[in-house]
Amino acid sequence: MNDSVAGIGARVLRREDFRFIKGRGKYVDDMVLPRQTYAVIVRSPHAHATVNSIDSSAAAAMPGVVRVLTSKDFEAFGGLPCGWLVNNQNGDPMVEPKHPILAEGKVRHVGDPVAVVIANTKAQARDAADAVVVDYSELPAVVNMRQALSNPPAAVHDEAPGNLCYDWALGDKETVDAAFAGAAHVTRLEFTNNRLSPNAMEPRCAIGDYDRSNGDHTLYTTSQNPHVIRLLMGAFVLSIPEHKLRVYAPDVGGGFGSKIYHYAEEAIVTVAAKVIGRPVKWTSDRTEAFLSDAHGRDHVTTAELALDADGKFLGLRCDTLANMGAYLSTFAPCVPTYLHATLLAGQYKTPLIYCNVKAVFTNTVPVDAYRGAGRPEATYLLERVIDKAAREMKIDPAEIRRRNFIQPDEFPYQTPVALVYDTGNYEATLSAALAASDYAGIAARKAEAKSRGKLRGIGLSCYIEACGIAPSAVVGSLGARAGLYEAATIRVNPTGSISVLTGSHSHGQGHETTFAQVVADQLGQPIENIDIVHGDTARIPFGMGTYGSRSIAVGGAAIVKAVDKIIAKGKKIAAHLMEASADDVVFENGQFKVAGTDKQIDFGSVALTAYVPHNFPLEELEPGLEETAFYDPANFTFPAGSYVCEVEVDPETGVVEVCSMHASDDFGNIINPMIVEGQVHGGLVQGIGQALLEQAVYDDNGQLLTASYNDYTMPRADDMPSFTVDHQITACTHNPLGVKGCGEAGAIGSPPAVINAIVDALSELGVEHVEMPATPRKVWRAIQAAKK
């Protein structure tokens, strides 16, 4: 590896920052196309209703209105597709109802799109939207998941009269039950994993444009994966072939999963632009985002852990109800199953695991992957039930985890829930976290807090996640309707500058810096000579985009593979120029050298020769220096770590203050520690936000009570402490960079650490559990209940 300061492992300042700090970022809503119009969407105010009629005549006559579209205008098109099929225990496929672009005869959640008003200005469109008269007949709303299954007030979809999407299980229930029958101790915990709204700060936006002269569509959209949108919308919804549809996601202001999915508005502006012959822009406002962006989490779970007398885990048994919302979003079905149940071994040698998941339709916004996606739910389940078991058995929470850790010499490790962990060292991260947080010294801090009337507690969490999704053959066998490789093209330009075209998408992750560091390192070139191109299907190779902490592990690996091809070809060109055998040419620090001689030629000269092939082995080699590679991973990667949180509870008010949070992570090799630490910080706040602040709340009628920042509690700077983080490294064994991914860890590991700390603080009062988010009211209530 190159040891230049810009290479792998260096804290290179971000190259993308200049445009953002100068106000020159280019987000979709910043774009104005000639003759652009504005779409405002009329959305259902009801959770569940039949649509009797829509009268848009008054709206159509209002100033500036170009067109009003209803579901009739979309009859020729398909519904929004679901990208993952999950089968029932009996082998039958899940219920997969149509998800129309605009509601067809029935609305199924508050915010379900009903009509579209297009006008010359946004204000005109908004005014006219109020004049669209929709006649509804309200139906009973299905909100509560248990009730939806056991005593349904209505069926969200006729195809699923009992509101069950699927009933899926992993593991052998009889064997697990037998382990429980023989256990010395069984710990049981019932809990909710709270529903969250992702809240990327940039609201979604889409602009459709159509060129009648050649039939080309362009969609500018806030997406984490433009090629996926092109495929899903083009092939499954609108029947536009790839070569007639360009999807471009320029600067995107955060995603956290919510901008993976193909949304109705993307299809709406694409269709509308062709219908009216002018570009059509739709920009979400924040309340619309709460009512239309896919939500996350929302599980109701019962977990039981069987232990022997020494605290060794014998078996884990769990039942989860997972909310799908009103329609199946793009990847929704796989989240509570293949991204959740398969993680339930955690860092431990639990020999037997059984997990049943029932996915439920409700009259709420669709639920899909949100930062962590299934893995936070699995980690919370496991780390809470283990903590409760430790308390019940009077074993130190760190000690009980140590007794059950998979040991470093036991890798590769086959878990009972399908995954094979390639490498790890869980004691290393736990020890580092305990030392950094002075776990041993908590008694003195508790006593000092008590002298001030506060209750102090410490909590830990040891998480694992499966990232770098994913081996295509594996996910294909599990129901994925896509491959999950990544693609990269390295285009070496004639003067030696380098364009890297990647299928990964950066919406805050800093790929323009880290990917360039990788290429700079591998090719020995200055980082200034390297550009990262992403986000535009017209420029980049077909790739699957950014989510699941996959960019460096999969997208980075594709880049390395393409670089390897560049070097291999460069060696042949260099060998020709130096009149040596290609087998004797080595590439070091940007120089092609003949081994054992002082003959060398630099990378730039080879590039120039490739494009000016006057002295070139044309009979065996094509001119040019451009290579594309697709990388399909051999396995998932398994980042892991230990988090320790310390809190203080004000027993008078129930207010919880996070005093400290330490994260000790193993992400394998690290390209840019500064960016990795930033990813951890951000994840921690989303995790602490889930634990303490955030929840999307529906009332019994299916109205979303938390549809603005006046009611949905976003973490703010003064809610949070500064953090400490460290990294332990076991390199991933199966990708060329030895990397594992870091984007979601903070959000996965932190929620149980926070709740475990609160329970530790309140344990002297007899409190055993506090539900997330542990708001002051809930904590105060828990204290009052324990006093009785």
Binding site: T653, D711, M714, P776
Partner: protein, 265 residues
Amino acid sequence: MQSFNYAKPASLADAAAALAKAEDGTLLAGGQTLLPTMKARLAAPSDLVDLAGIAELKGISVSGGTVTIGAMTRHADVAGSAEVKGAIPALAALAGGIGDQAVRNRGTIGGSVANNDPAADYPAAVLGLGATVRTNSRSIAADDFFTGLFDTALNAGEIVTAVSFPVPQKAAYVKFPNPASRYAMVGVFVAKTASGVRVAVTGAGNGGVFRVPAYEAALAANFSPSAIADGVISAADMNSDLHADAEYRAHLVAVMARRAVAAAG
């Protein structure tokens, strides 16, 4: 936001005339509540009469044991005013805790008082200090001014011009903010004056800001947190929402009141 006519008069008389002329006019002060409400289409006035051009509505004066704050004086100006900090530090601190800095740079006392949002901070100070609300036609005692949720004694067309606060012996305001909006979920203003103690509560009541006579009596006898140690008020008249049920709010009123007394010293 729906369309409206906009006027920016230079005098109170012109403002009153513009308002009188309007079909369904509203005064625009700092706009920090009104504009979001209009954006959400929960308000659609035919006319906005902007008070920002009326110089006499701005400014702070202290004389004879009274602090008078012009209606268009911004929260940031009250929070930063040396006169207010010297005379009624609790009032400056309250103003410095409204919204965030950008909101305090626009929001005004007149707008806040006239709107009487049940979760706003200023009504607690106005009632807790026994202030007088001055308008273009009369003076209204605080006890008569706040008449219910978003409701005041102001007549149609009446314009708040200033609020006069008597300087107390000691006072403090302690707020438990709504975790999401940062408005007061419970805010308690406690003031000790020569004529007695006043305790005003915002954020908690289902009828807006209110006084707590039982606390006032107990604190008049003994101005210390211990005097109201057992004083839990009834939950019957408390607000209940997803952040705090009525019983929790009633409990918080007691806790914030004790903390306010302690802070007042």
